[in-house]
C-alpha cells in the first residue's frame, strides 16, 4: 500500500498539527513520518508517544465497524522538526565610551530528539483547529504552528539587557572587534540563558556566535586611516612631480646655453671667426711662454735656496769642529786631574783596608777557635750525658734482668734444695722407721711404694704358703706379667712421642689417639699468650706465625 509522507507546511515551521481531514477516510490509508521529524500521537487529547521514522495507518473497514460498535476516538498527530535551526538576534548596546554598538547574535538550537514530547511546553497559543473544510479558510483562533520566530521572540528579551548591555558596556568601542575574551563571555552567557529558559521545554542549545557591525569609533578610525593613506599617496605624487620638474629644469638650462653658443657662431662673419681663432692662438702662445718663464724662475729660486742652505750648513759644521776640539782638550785635562786624585785616594784606601783586614783576621781567628772549643765541649758533654743516660738505662735494665734471673735461679735452687731436703728427710724417716723392723715388715712397707713390689710380696707370701712347684709357676707367671707391663709402658711412650711429632709436623692426629696425645692439642702463643689449637699456624689474636 502506498504511504503518504507527513511533512511540515513551511521551512520556518518547527512544529504543527497534521490536518485531521487527512485521516478521515473509509478505506485504509497509510502515512509515513520521516526520520528527521518526530510524530507525536495524541488520542482523545492525551499524548500517546512520540515516533521517529514510523508509519501510521488509518481507516479501513474493520476500524469503521469497530467505531460503529464501540464508538470512535479522536486522534491527532503533531509533527516536530528535529533538525538544528538558527535563530538570529539583533545586538544593540552602548559601549563604555558611549558609542552605539550594533551586531547580530546567532544561536543554533535543536528540538530534543530524545524527548520531543517536551516541545508541548512551547506550544502555548497553538490551535488545533484546522481550516474550514468547506471554504478552506484558516481558523481565526490562535496560531497554527510553532515557528522559528516564536522561539526568537521568546528568547530575545532575556538577552538584550542581561547579556549584551552588561558585557559590551564594560569595553570601549575600539576594543570590541576581535576581542575573543568578550566574545566567549557573550557566547557562554547566551547559551546559559537559552538553556535556562528553554532547556526543559524541548530545546537544546548547540552553539552561539556574534558578529559586530562597524561602530562609530571604528568608522572614524577607518575614515582617518583612509584620509592618511590618500595624503600619503598625494605626497608621493608630489615628490614624483618635483623630481620631474627638476629633471626638466636641468635639461632646459643645457639646451638654452648650447642654443646661445650656436646662435653666436651663426651670427659671426668669416673675419670675425678668423679673429677669434687668431686670438685664441695668440693667447695660447702667450700662455705657453708665460708658463716656461715661470718654470725657469722657479728653478732659479730653488737653486738659490739650496746653495744658501749648503753654505749655512758648512759654516755651522766648521764652527762645531772648532768648538769640539777645544772642549776635548779641556776634558782631557780634567780627566788627567781626576785620574790623579783617584789613584791617590785608592792608595790611601788600600792602606786603610790592609790595616782593617789584619785586625779583623786576628779577631775572627780568635772567635772561631773559641767557638770550636765551645762546640766541642758541648758535644763532648752531650755525648757524655747521653752515654751516661744510656749506661744508666742499660745498667738498670741489666740489673733488672740480672735480678730477675737471680731471683728465678734462687727460687729454682731453693725449690730443688727443698725437694732434695724433703726427699732426704723422707728417706731418713723411712730408714729410721725401718731400723727396728723385720725383713717382712720392710717388704710390706716397700710394697706400698710400688704395685710391682706389692705383687712380689703377695707372690712371696703365696710362694711361702704353696708348694715348691706352685711357687715356681707363680714366679714364672709374675715374671711374664712384669714383662708385659714393661711392653705396655714402652708402647704408651712411643704413642705419646709420635703424637707430639705429628703435632709439630702439622699433620693430623695419629690413627689411634690416647689420652696422652689429647693433652698436646693446645699451644700458647709466644707473643701474646693466647691459647691456640696445636695445628694453628698463626695466632688468631695477633697474627704471629706459630710455626713454618
Amino acid at each position: 500500500m502506498e504511504s503518504n509522507a507527513l511533512v511540515l507546511s513551511d521551512p520556518n515551521v518547527l512544529a504543527e498539527y497534521a490536518r485531521e481531514s487527512q485521516f478521515k477516510t473509509f478505506f485504509e490509508k497509510r502515512f509515513a513520518a520521516p526520520p528527521d521529524l518526530a510524530a507525536l500521537l495524541f488520542r482523545d487529547g492525551a499524548l500517546i508517544n512520540a515516533y521517529k521514522g514510523t508509519q501510521f495507518t488509518v481507516g479501513g473497514l474493520w476500524e469503521n465497524i469497530k467505531g460503529v460498535i464501540g464508538g470512535s476516538h479522536h486522534y491527532a498527530i503533531m509533527l516536530a522538526d528535529l533538525k538544528p535551526f538558527q535563530v538570529k538576534f539583533p545586538i544593540r548596546a552602548i559601549s563604555k565610551d558611549k558609542v552605539e554598538i550594533a551586531g547580530v547574535a546567532t544561536l543554533e538550537l535543536q528540538l530534543d530528539p530524545d524527548n520531543p514530547g517536551n516541545i508541548l511546553g512551547l506550544m502555548r497559543g497553538i490551535s488545533r483547529q484546522n481550516p474550514d473544510e468547506d471554504s478552506g479558510e484558516p481558523s481565526n483562533v490562535g496560531r497554527k504552528a510553532l515557528s522559528v520566530y516564536d522561539v526568537q521572540q521568546r528568547l530575545e528579551p532575556q538577552f538584550e539587557d542581561r547579556i549584551f548591555e552588561h558585557v559590551i558596556g564594560r569595553h570601549n568601542a575600539d576594543e570590541i572587534r576581535g576581542n575573543r575574551g568578550m566574545q566567549d563571555q557573550i557566547q557562554a552567557d547566551m547559551m546559559t540563558e537559552a538553556e535556562r529558559i528553554a532547556g526543559d521545554i524541548g530545546l537544546m542549545v548547540r552553539n552561539g556566535s556574534i558578529t559586530f557591525a562597524m561602530n562609530d569609533a571604528e568608522r572614524q578610525e577607518f575614515e582617518k586611516a583612509r584620509i592618511e593613506r590618500e595624503q600619503a599617496a598625494m605626497d608621493h605624487q608630489l615628490e614624483l612631480l618635483k623630481r620631474e620638474v627638476e629633471r626638466q629644469t636641468e635639461s632646459t638650462e643645457v639646451k638654452i646655453q648650447s642654443n646661445t653658443d650656436v646662435a653666436k657662431l651663426q651670427r659671426a662673419s668669416e673675419d670675425e671667426l678668423k679673429h677669434m681663432v687668431l686670438e685664441s692662438e695668440v693667447s695660447f702662445v702667450d700662455a705657453r711662454e708665460a708658463a716656461a718663464r715661470r718654470q725657469e724662475a722657479e728653478a732659479l729660486e730653488h737653486q738659490i735656496v739650496i746653495l744658501g742652505k749648503e753654505r749655512a750648513a758648512k759654516f755651522a759644521m766648521a764652527l762645531e769642529d772648532e768648538d769640539h776640539g777645544f772642549d776635548v782638550a779641556k776634558a782631557k785635562e780634567r780627566t788627567r786631574a781626576f785620574t790623579r786624585d783617584t789613584e791617590l785616594l785608592e792608595t790611601k784606601h788600600n792602606i786603610e783596608l790592609n790595616k782593617l783586614r789584619t785586625a779583623a783576621g786576628i779577631e775572627t781567628k780568635e772567635a772561631v777557635s773559641l767557638s770550636d772549643i765551645k762546640i766541642d765541649d758541648a758535644q763532648v758533654s752531650s755525648k757524655q750525658n747521653q752515654t751516661e743516660r744510656w749506661n744508666e738505662i742499660a745498667n738498670k735494665n741489666l740489673e733488672k734482668l740480672t735480678d730477675d734471673e737471680l731471683r728465678k735461679k734462687d727460687a729454682e735452687s731453693n725449690r730443688k734444695i727443698a725437694e732434695g731436703r724433703a726427699e732426704a728427710d723422707a728417706r731418713v724417716a723411712q730408714m729410721a722407721a725401718a731400723a727396728g723392723m723385720s725383713a717382712e715388715q720392710i717388704g710390706a712397707i716397700t710394697s706400698s711404694f710400688s704395685p710391682e713390689a706389692a705383687q712380689a710380696a703377695i707372690a712371696q707370701a703365696q710362694a711361702r704358703a704353696a708348694s715348691g712347684e706352685k711357687m715356681t709357676a707363680i714366679i714364672r707367671e709374675l715374671t711374664a706379667e712384669s714383662r708385659e707391663h714393661e711392653h705396655r709402658m714402652l708402647e704408651t711412650g712411643m704413642k705419646g712421642a709420635s703424637g707430639v711429632a705429628a703435632g709439630a709436623g702439622g699433620k693430623g692426629k695419629p690413627a689411634e689417639s690416647g689420652d696422652a696425645a689429647g693433652s698436646a692439642t693446645k699451644v700458647e702463643c709466644t707473643q701474646c699468650g693466647k691459647v691456640l689449637g696445636a695445628k694453628d699456624k698463626f695466632c688468631t689474636a695477633c697474627g704471629h706465625r706459630m710455626r713454618t
Binding site: L532, D536, K537, F538, C539, T540, A541, C542, G543, R545
Partner: protein, 382 residues
C-alpha cells in the same frame, strides 16, 4: 711480616665460626676483616669490600618465557633477579642496564628491595638483532647492601649469547633459551619455527640461573665505587698513625679489623680498656701536659673513619662539630677524605689538634692511609 687481605677463604670462615673474636685466620694468616653488618650476617669481606654472605645476587631466566621477534626487530628478554644471600639481610637493586654493543642503556625498574630468597621480575630489550648469527646481550645491575647509615654498592653483569637462525621467513624466528653456561656466557638459541622442523615451542622449560660477575671498572665509571680522582681505597688498605701515643690507637700497619668495620676517633678510652674509641684524641699543651678543659670539647666519640664504596669516609658522631679543610661539618654529616685533607676536631682552636691524612699509593689503589697528628703527643698518662 703479616699477610695482606685478599679474599676470605673457607679456613677464615672456619676460624671465625670457632672463635668470633679472632682477628687473624689461624690457618692462612689473613686478617679477618668483617662486614659492616657482621652482627647480623657474621660474614667476612675481602679487599673488594664484598661480603659473600650478604651479597649474592642471581639472574634467572624465567621458565615459560616465549620470545618471538623477526630479524631486524627487538627481543624482550624477561628474567628475575634473586637475593640468594644466606643471611636474612635484604639487597637493593638500584639500577638496571643492558647493551648489545656500545654504551649502556638504562632499563626501567619499578622495584628496589629484595629480601632473603626473594625474586622479582625485570626485562631488557635487545634492539639490534638485525642479522642472523651470534648476538650478545650484556645485562648489568647495581646492587646495594645497607646497614644503618652505611651502604656498599656493587655492579654485576651477565652475558647472554643469542643465536639467530633463519632470516627468510616472514613470521620471523622463535627465540628459545636452550642451554646455559656455554662458552663464556649463556647461550640462547633462536630457531626458525616456521620451517616446520619442530625444533621447539619457543618456551623456556626450566629456569636458568645465569652466571653473574663483578664489574669493578663499570663500578668506577658509574660512580658506584671509588673516589672522584680515580683512586680506590680498598678494605685491604693499612692504617698507620704518627704523633699519637702508642696506647691511644689501634696497632699500626693493619687494615680496619674492628667488629663494626670502622675506626672511632674520640675522647673515650680504647676498646681494649673498656672504652669505645679506636683512636683516642686528647688536647695537650705545648709542654705535653693534658689540657683538660680543651679536651672536654672533644666528644667521647667525635667522628668515625671507615671505608665505604672504595672511599675513605668520615662521619661526624659528636655534637661538637669539626673542621675538614676549613669546612664545618655538623653531627651526622659525612665527607670523603682525600690525600692531604686536614681534620681539625677543635672547632674553636683548630691549630691545637690537626690530623692530616696521607695516602701511599700503588697505581690507582691506596695501600696505606697515614694519620699524622699535629702537635704530636707522647701521652698524658690519663
Amino acid at each position: 711480616m703479616k699477610k695482606r687481605l685478599r679474599s676470605p677463604k673457607p679456613c677464615c670462615r672456619e676460624t671465625i665460626a670457632a672463635d668470633r673474636d679472632a682477628m687473624w685466620c689461624g690457618s692462612c694468616g689473613q686478617p679477618t676483616v668483617r662486614c659492616m653488618g657482621f652482627s647480623e650476617c657474621g660474614g667476612l669481606v675481602g679487599a673488594d669490600g664484598q661480603c659473600s654472605v650478604c651479597v649474592e645476587p642471581h639472574l634467572i631466566i624465567v621458565p615459560g618465557a616465549t620470545m618471538h621477534a623477526p630479524v631486524g626487530g627487538s627481543v624482550a628478554l624477561p628474567f628475575e633477579l634473586m637475593n640468594g644471600a644466606s643471611s636474612d639481610r635484604p639487597i637493593f637493586i638500584t639500577g638496571l642496564w643492558s647493551r648489545e654493543k656500545g654504551d649502556w642503556r638504562e632499563e626501567r625498574l619499578s622495584w628496589e628491595e629484595l629480601g632473603q630468597g626473594e625474586r622479582s621480575p625485570a626485562s631488557v630489550i635487545a634492539r639490534e638483532i638485525d642479522k642472523p648469527g651470534l648476538h650478545e646481550i650484556e645485562i648489568m645491575f647495581a646492587v646495594a647492601t645497607r646497614y644503618k647509615q652505611r651502604e656498599e654498592r656493587f655492579a654485576f653483569s651477565s652475558r647472554i649469547l643469542l643465536t639467530v637462525q633463519g632470516e627468510g621467513s616472514q613470521a620471523g624466528p622463535t627465540i628459545q633459551i636452550s642451554s646455559e653456561n656455554e662458552m663464556n656466557g649463556n647461550v640462547i638459541q633462536i630457531h626458525d619455527n616456521t620451517s616446520g622442523d619442530g625444533s621447539g615451542s619457543g618456551k623456556v622449560i626450566e629456569a636458568i640461573d645465569l652466571n653473574v660477575s663483578r664489574l669493578d671498572l663499570e663500578e668506577q665509571r658509574l660512580g658506584l665505587r671509588g673516589m672522584e680522582s680515580g683512586l680506590r681505597v680498598r678494605r685491604s688498605a693499612l692504617f698507620e698513625f704518627s704523633g699519637f701515643p702508642a696506647e691511644d690507637h689501634v696497632p699500626d700497619g693493619q687494615p680496619i679489623m674492628t667488629p663494626d668495620g670502622l675506626l672511632a676517633f674520640g675522647r673515650e678510652r680504647a676498646r681494649e680498656t673498656g672504652g669505645g674509641s679506636d683512636v683516642r684524641l686528647l688536647a695537650v699543651n705545648a709542654d705535653g701536659s693534658l689540657d683538660r678543659e680543651l679536651s672536654l670539647t672533644i666528644s667521647r666519640r667525635h667522628f668515625d673513619v671507615f671505608i665505604e664504596n672504595d672511599c675513605l669516609c668520615l662521619r661526624v658522631r659528636g655534637r661538637n662539630k669539626l673542621l675538614v679543610n676549613g669546612e664545618t661539618l655538623k653531627m651526622e654529616e659525612r665527607i670523603v677524605l682525600d690525600d692531604g685533607d686536614r681534620i681539625m676536631p677543635l672547632i674553636d682552636h683548630p691549630s691545637m689538634l690537626v690530623i692530616t691524612v696521607a695516602f701511599r699509593r700503588e697505581h690507582n689503589r691506596v695501600s696505606t692511609v697515614h694519620f699524622y697528628r699535629e702537635p704530636a703527643s707522647e701521652g698524658t698518662g690519663q
